[in-house]
Symmetry: C2
Subunit: 341 residues, 2 copies
């Protein structure tokens, strides 16, 4: 098997046990150092009118009339032009000595947040943000239903320093044929504890003054062992393993609390780049009574050195207590924060 | 327990199981955004003549006469001025609900490679590089012998984008009171395989054309599931768990192959920032028959996005086969490479 072949491969390192996608085609994407010509604002492939620069859309909302791949949409979903995962890659794995792998089969989509080139999630009004959360749930449900998918990851990279290769706000959705290490680790911790660690963590955050914001359905808090300065978690108050089962009312509250926290961080950290992702239970027939889906927001304000790479641990120079206090004060100054409680 | 107290804390996240050091004092170090005044070349605290800007040295080599903390040294080891770990932090852990932690007790040293502000490891001649490898082994041995130390990590961050906060070439040594996740994962993989995965990986790399360089005692290769473009591993040919037991002859070969590969990457990737670290067996009474100490070199040429953070997996756009081929050719062009075999 060779990654220079037609499709990328998912390979497992025999020493570390870590899986990596060898996706040579992605080096051609804008911002990856090659073929950068589409990366100016004028030819932004995510702006209305440029629909034909992208693969044909798989979902869109807001177009009252007109054909697919024409302007008029409010949210548009397309396959990634430089995918890390391919629907047709096959599913037959291999093992040659210590070399193990499977084809990088799966789905890699892009949700274009809006027609507006510069409207980030923090800038969106309640209706726009709710539309985006609905798109998240819709694509999650669809991809979860596909036969080979074991995990659906919804990931928003904001800013070049956070890995975004195009400026126009968008979210990536990865539907992968295995349960990734980070989720397996969380499932193991939950099994060990014999109850939901996230329910505990959220209530302990409130006790410790690490809660940042809350509303009817969600709390936002700085985790006890925050890996990064101002790392913030979004936990639905209702315990449940699966983002798919989020109610309409909960989506509304999610669409309020995430942009609220982003606005606080924007003021406090001066428009930081960030990653936002959702962790939900695996898409298999398993029962995960102690798993609790959640969102994680990581401002990318520090450069990690070799300590993190070599240990799998982190050094965080901002205590979560201090981060929560400052972020909470910023939100209060903006008129948000504790008013929800 | 509060991280705003005297000492940093090592905290365990109840949801992910990940440990992080909450080290608020490190935010004051040069390059961390505060108190940057020592960061110019003129007042480089690692240059000769500026010894009193650092904590008192704990080890030095090359000073034929003169007092400690005076010029004349060739290699100098000091405690980190902004440590993540403290000798006097205590060892008593705590558990309050799901909150678990221990004091960040340990040792955090800096090995200043040479008196020369701009002489990186790739620039060093054989004797200088051997002196540095000897210093690595010497500090490793000393720190390993201390009662509370469970792991000694030797980490070279080169370039600001790789997390180096000072330009003057140096290596950090972290002696920590637990076995970090990355090493535990490798121990688990080795136990599962029932033999040494690294011996297998190195021989399979040679079979697959992923070997980059070799000499009497070491091979350098691109791992099968490389996480990063041009990730390169250094494996001693002689199977052994512990860097401490490296012979003088092996140190010589280590001091040849690492700078050689660094020179190749410097040409090929145009002076990339990088992290270099050594993985060795835990410093406890355990027997680790299948563990094989090794070095890992990661050029920092890409910005990781949310995929890596959310999954614990990696997307690598350069295949290790291609990386090894190009790096091998570069080394041959420089007169290195296969001549060792």
């Amino acid at each position: 098997m060779e990654v220079t072949g037609t499709y990328p491969e998912l390979r497992r390192d025999p020493v570390t046990g870590i899986w990596s996608i060898l996706a040579v085609g992605r080096s051609r994407r804008p911002g990856a150092g090659v073929d950068d010509e589409q990366n100016g604002e004028k030819t932004c492939p995510f702006c209305p009118g440029n629909e034909l620069f992208t693969p044909p859309e798989v979902w869109a909302e807001g177009r009252e009339s007109g054909e697919a791949d024409s302007p008029g949409w409010k949210i548009r979903v397309i396959p990634n032009l430089y995918p890390a995962l391919f629907p047709d890659a096959g599913t037959k794995g291999w093992r040659r000595g210590a070399r193990r792998g499977v084809p990088a089969q799966g789905y890699h989509e892009v949700i274009i947040h809006s027609p507006h080139h510069r409207r980030s999630l923090a800038d969106m009004d309640a209706e726009e943000a709710l539309g985006l959360m609905r798109a998240y749930r819709s694509r999650y449900r669809h991809l979860k239903s596909l036969a080979t998918v074991r995990q659906v990851m919804i990931i928003l990279n904001h800013g070049r320093e956070a890995g975004a290769s195009l400026e126009h706000p968008h979210t990536q959705v990865f539907a992968i044929p295995m349960v990734p290490r980070a989720v397996r680790d969380e499932l193991r911790e939950a099994r060990r504890m014999g109850e939901c660690p996230l329910c505990r963590a959220a209530s302990e955050a409130a006790e410790d003054g690490r809660q940042v914001a809350e509303n009817r359905s969600f709390t936002a808090f700085a985790p006890y062992a925050a890996r990064y300065p101002y790392e913030t978690w979004f936990a639905p108050r209702r315990h449940g393993a699966d983002f798919e089962k989020t109610s309409d009312a909960e989506l509304e509250d999610m669409a309020e609390i995430i942009p609220t926290v982003l606005r606080g961080l924007r003021g406090l950290l001066h428009h930081p780049p960030y990653n936002l992702y959702l962790h939900s239970a695996p898409c298999d027939k398993g029962e995960y009574p102690y798993y609790h889906w959640h969102g994680v927001l990581i401002p990318r304000t520090v450069t990690e050195g070799g300590f993190e790479l070599s240990t799998g641990m982190h050094i965080n120079v901002t205590s979560p207590e201090e981060a929560a206090r400052r972020l909470g004060e910023t939100l209060e100054g903006l008129g948000y924060g504790k008013r929800y409680s």
